[in-house]
């Protein structure tokens, strides 16, 4: 691993070297390093690019890192990763993709992740997306996450795109069965002429199924963001979508939170607020000694923290 590899890995998955436990580090379409354990097995797919991650039932307090890095220009990477989480297992999965592109041609990574959660398991899934290298050159990331949640399972997803990605189309679909709980936190920062699109579809099929989606986005310069969510309540269930956006300069944020209740006992709520930074927040921080630019920077940092 060279310095660029290490920097990317540190920023997308907080890795300072080889992680503990199971991991798979993918670089420019190839497995750079991989380790399976008896509790979490990682197997390459025989028929296409990608891996199967198999977490055995009742495994507790384990983590698996599966970062992807791309360090060349003009490279298109498509990968299929399937996660099979056994009954009552509790695991953290740290994914994420970083592109360092110093060439003149666009590089792109499309990661199709499918999660199969068995009864009673708990998953914390963190993915960070980052673009570095030459300004103005395409660094495209299109993550797709499909989640099927069996009874009483829990999935907590944190997704971050904190700069440098020129285009992203993030698609997340979940089927949530009895007493299962999905929590999604998304934080996105776009600058220059970047575009970020998010599609969430949560299908609450089970009794007492619940979903909570919190999206916070900051769009600067001439960047554009689009947030589309669709929460469908087919049973006695709970759904909440909150979309907060801050726009600066000539940026545009479009939010379309849709909720569909198909059962009288479905309780679905959406909230959306987009606007500039509140003047009173800047004033407050100026009364603590910051100047206007420092105040804006801190407010955005806190908002996306």
């Amino acid at each position: 691993m060279n310095k660029i590899d290490k920097d990317l890995l540190e920023q997308i998955s907080n890795l300072h070297g080889v992680p503990q436990g199971s991991f798979n580090i993918r670089k420019n379409g190839q497995a750079l390093k991989r380790k399976s354990t008896s509790e979490i097995e990682i197997l390459p797919k025989p028929d296409k690019s990608g891996i199967d991650i198999i977490v055995k039932p009742n495994v507790k307090n384990r983590s698996v890192h599966i970062p992807v890095i791309i360090t060349v220009g003009g490279f298109n990477d498509l990968v299929y990763n399937d996660f099979y989480i056994g009954e009552n297992a509790e695991v953290s999965i740290i994914a994420g993709c970083g592109i360092h592109n110093s060439a003149n041609e666009t590089s792109q990574h499309d990661g199709i992740h499918s999660f199969h959660l068995e009864k009673g398991c708990k998953v914390k899934y963190i993915e960070k997306h980052l673009g570095l290298g030459k300004e103005g050159v395409g660094k495209i990331l299109n993550p797709t996450t499909n989640i099927v949640m069996e009874e009483s399972s829990e999935f907590e997803m944190e997704t971050y795109q904190l700069g440098g990605v020129t285009y992203s189309n993030r698609i997340t679909k979940a089927k949530i069965k009895d007493n299962a709980k999905l929590l999604v936190t998304e934080k996105i920062l776009t600058t220059n002429t970047q575009t970020a699109i998010t599609h969430f579809t949560a299908n609450l099929v089970g009794k007492n199924a619940s979903v909570n989606i919190v999206s916070r986005s900051v769009a600067k310069d001439n960047s554009k963001q689009k947030f589309i969510s669709n929460v469908i309540g087919n049973n006695e269930c709970f759904g909440h979508v909150e979309c907060d956006g801050i726009i600066l300069n000539n940026a545009v944020i479009e939010s379309t939170p849709k909720i569909v209740a198909k059962d009288v006992n479905a309780s679905l709520v959406h909230e959306a607020a987009i606007g500039k930074i509140a003047g009173e927040q800047i004033t407050k921080l100026m009364t603590l000694g910051l100047n206007k630019d420092e105040a804006e920077e801190l407010i955005i940092k806190g908002f996306l923290k």
Binding site: Q281, T283, M286, T287, G289, N291, L298, G302, K305
Partner: protein, 239 residues
């Protein structure tokens, strides 16, 4: 010392000019606590905003230790000893209590140090440091945290806009003792509370239709009582 000379402040309402403060001349000495009181709409909060450069006077001058600071902005005043606690604390999505305490004190506080500021306002500090300053905190909690942030910032001139409002669950004595600890500073408090007026050295009564009256607290309280214009001076409700 802070001096206000011929300060006027007006706003445009429904296309007409409305004068909030008219020809105000006041002095605030060092090592004194001054309470500002007056009817609703008499311009108390406006006066505090002018002192912190959150609003600019339409005319007149503000001097601090002999220097004309009228055109110097909020950041300048904050960095030169002025500290304010708002009547309505500002909420932030994401920024935590500790973030604000760190910004205010210009250092990355250890938990123990940050806790001290919260303990001074009667909060069990460890429960609050990592909480965001948003709607998950009650009005009373936000108000006390606002005071803690002001204490963490420190300074030479402290401006408190109705600090007692919403602190019902905390002992009034706690609030009073904070002001007494600041006796060696220039403290200006907007308040209607008799207990706060009583610990002040000076009292200013703002009157929308007349010049403000400034005097020693004891004399001024008697005057307020005798004229029966003591609004809510009985010590009960706040404005």
């Amino acid at each position: 010392m802070i001096e206000l000379k011929n300060i006027c402040y007006s706003v445009i309402e429904d296309g007409k000019e409305k004068q909030i403060l008219k020809d105000i001349n006041l002095q605030f000495e060092e090592n004194t606590i001054t309470a500002i009181t007056g009817h609703n709409g008499s311009g108390k909060s406006t006066l505090i905003k002018l002192l912190m450069a959150i609003a600019s006077p339409s005319s007149g001058k503000i001097f601090y230790n002999g220097k004309d600071i009228t055109n110097l902005d909020t950041s300048y005043r904050a960095n030169n000893g002025f500290t304010i606690a708002f009547q309505q604390p500002v909420k932030f999505k994401g920024l935590t209590v500790k973030d604000l305490i760190n910004v205010a004190s210009r250092k990355n506080n250890k938990v123990k140090d940050a806790c001290q500021y919260l303990a001074e306002v009667g909060l069990c500090a460890r429960n609050y440091l990592d909480r965001p300053l948003d709607d998950t905190l009650s009005g009373g909690e936000l108000k006390r945290i606002e005071l803690a942030i002001a204490l963490a910032k420190g300074g030479e001139v402290f401006l408190f806009d109705e600090p007692e409002a919403g602190i019902d669950l905390w002992s009034f004595e706690g609030l009073i003792s904070i002001f007494q600890k600041l006796k060696n500073k220039t403290v200006i408090i907007v308040s209607h509370q008799r207990k706060i007026l009583e610990i002040a050295d000076n009292i200013v009564i703002l009157n929308a239709n007349d010049s403000p009256i400034q005097g020693k607290a004891k004399t001024m309280i008697k005057q307020l009582e005798s004229k029966n214009i003591c609004y809510k001076l009985s010590g009960g409700k706040n404005e």
